[in-house]
């Protein structure tokens, strides 16, 4: 398995608040990585640094072995046009879907292909229908987002990101804004993607998803990676006190086995 993404000594501060305090991680091609952690642990910020939705305070990120940005005398600078190109290779799905309300489902999925990749309309439409079929929403292509359920909206958002043919997909708490009964359809779509070999980094609170789908789980606490390993061992036998507390919090009101 080749290494797709490497994060080296990543620090991120907002003003005087240091959110990430030196993160090192790598993701191999085809791997699904799940980031766990309580709110404020820095997991969403970490995800948003990977596609430069946030600027890094220090550290660097490599995609396919190439460092992003140009380094002169120890200082890394990033050109906005390079970052735009980079973001086409890193798909992102958000907690609140962020579909474009004035466009139909099909137009939503076509938009990036037309304006950014410069594909012609026929090709973009064809690729969009492939992705909409993949997420099970080909029949909704002509609808406006306001007519869809939360789960359907999120699957359209996934199709929109996939249509750019990204190397890796980032999922930022994508089921947190959904009604409980709609969570399943989105997780199912994500699981299917993982099984098809998509490289994925997921911030989620769905421990079941982490357990069944992730190749590796990282537990973030106060801006550092606190515990890391395969899901079976990390989620069943946590080694640190903080991780144990986190899991107990999640299991408080579980149905009896």
């Amino acid at each position: 398995m080749s290494e797709l993404i490497r994060v080296e000594n990543l620090h991120k501060s907002f003003g005087t608040l240091e959110v990430l305090k030196g993160i090192d991680l790598h993701v191999n091609s085809g791997e699904t990585l799940v980031l766990l952690g309580s709110s404020g642990s820095g997991k969403s910020t970490l995800l948003r640094c990977i596609n430069f939705m946030e600027t890094l305070t220090s550290g660097r990120i490599l995609l396919n072995g190439d460092a992003i940005g140009s380094e002169t005398r120890g200082k890394i600078t990033y050109k906005e046009s390079d970052l735009c190109k980079l973001r086409t290779r890193i798909g992102m799905v958000f907690q609140h879907f962020n579909l474009f309300p004035h466009m139909t489902v099909l137009q939503n999925v076509m938009e990036g292909q037309l304006t950014v990749l410069g594909r012609d309309k026929a090709e973009a439409a064809e690729k969009s229908m492939i992705q909409l079929t993949r997420v099970g929403l080909a029949d909704k292509a002509a609808e406006f987002p306001s007519r869809l359920s939360g789960g359907q909206k999120q699957r359209v958002a996934i199709a929109r990101a996939l249509a750019m043919d990204p190397d890796v997909m980032l999922f930022d708490e994508v089921t947190s804004a959904l009604d409980p009964e709609l969570v399943g359809e989105v997780l199912k779509t994500m699981r299917q993607l993982a099984e098809e070999g998509m490289t994925m980094i997921c911030v989620t609170h769905e421990l079941g998803f982490a357990y069944h789908v992730a190749n590796r789980v990282l537990f973030l606490n106060e801006g550092t990676i606190h515990e890391e390993g395969d899901p079976q061992s990390v989620l069943r036998n946590p080694q640190t006190k903080r991780m144990k507390e986190f899991l107990e919090g999640h299991a408080l009101f579980k149905l009896p086995e």
């Binding site: 939705m53 735009c84 798909g91 962020n98 309300p101 938009e111 990036g112 306001s146 750019m164």
Partner: protein
């Protein structure tokens, strides 16, 4: 108090009003176009947080929003030529005054519209690799403009009626022409009432048209 309404002289002089209405429509067309397009540009500059762009834009808005249009027209007609040596016709003076004022007001409308868009929309555009300009043009503005259309309509109506201010520099728009009729025929009541009626008759259908436009644009919300 009895007044015997007599519109006969108005009808016999309809050509004078017709000339005025054409001048009014020309004034409106030029000022609403300059005002709304210029306002969009300034509104975007106001939105961008870059100090080199935002500060001059803000100064412009404050100057032209907080001074009376009538004074601006008079100033452009009488003071501007003396200060710069460039002659201004009544038309140009009125166009400058009304356009600049409209730019200032509509800039604030556009800025409010852009600011009202959820920041997730910017992020969604950014995440698929769109640049700032692409996101603004393709994602943010279409929704923002739709949202501020009622406010812009309001401004447009105002611009149409502001054209009468050009009468202060004797530009031959509808009100100036009515004044002419009133002085010739000693019938100010009828001649100015005719102006009010003309404005209403022209504006009302246009405003109904913008309501229809709003309904068409709102189809994606249903």
């Amino acid at each position: 108090m009895d007044h015997n309404w007599d519109f006969a002289t108005i009808f016999t002089n309809w050509r004078v009003y017709w000339v005025g209405l054409q001048a009014t429509l020309l004034m409106f067309g030029v000022t609403v176009t300059l005002g709304m397009l210029g306002g969009l540009l300034i509104g975007i500059l106001r939105y961008i947080k870059h100090p080199a762009a935002a500060w001059p834009a803000r100064a412009f808005v404050e100057v032209f929003r907080n001074t009376p249009v009538l004074v601006q027209i008079i100033w452009f007609y009488y003071a501007f030529p003396i200060l710069t040596g460039v002659e201004t016709s009544p038309f140009l003076a009125a166009v400058l005054g009304i356009s600049l004022n409209t730019m200032a007001f509509s800039a604030e409308i556009y800025r409010a519209g852009i600011q009202s868009i959820d920041k997730g929309q910017w992020e969604a555009g950014k995440a698929i690799g769109m640049s700032f300009t692409q996101t603004l043009r393709r994602i943010i503005l279409p929704v923002a403009l739709k949202r501020v259309l009622p406010a812009l309509t309001n401004r447009g109506i105002e611009v149409f009626k502001m054209s009468t201010l050009a009468s202060i520099v004797a530009y031959n728009e509808t009100l100036s022409q009515a004044k002419l009729i009133a002085e010739l025929n000693y019938n100010p009541i009828e001649s100015y009432t005719a102006v009010a009626i003309i404005f209403f008759v022209v504006l009302y259908p246009v405003v109904q048209g913008t309501y229809a436009l709003e309904r068409v644009l709102n189809r994606s919300d249903r």
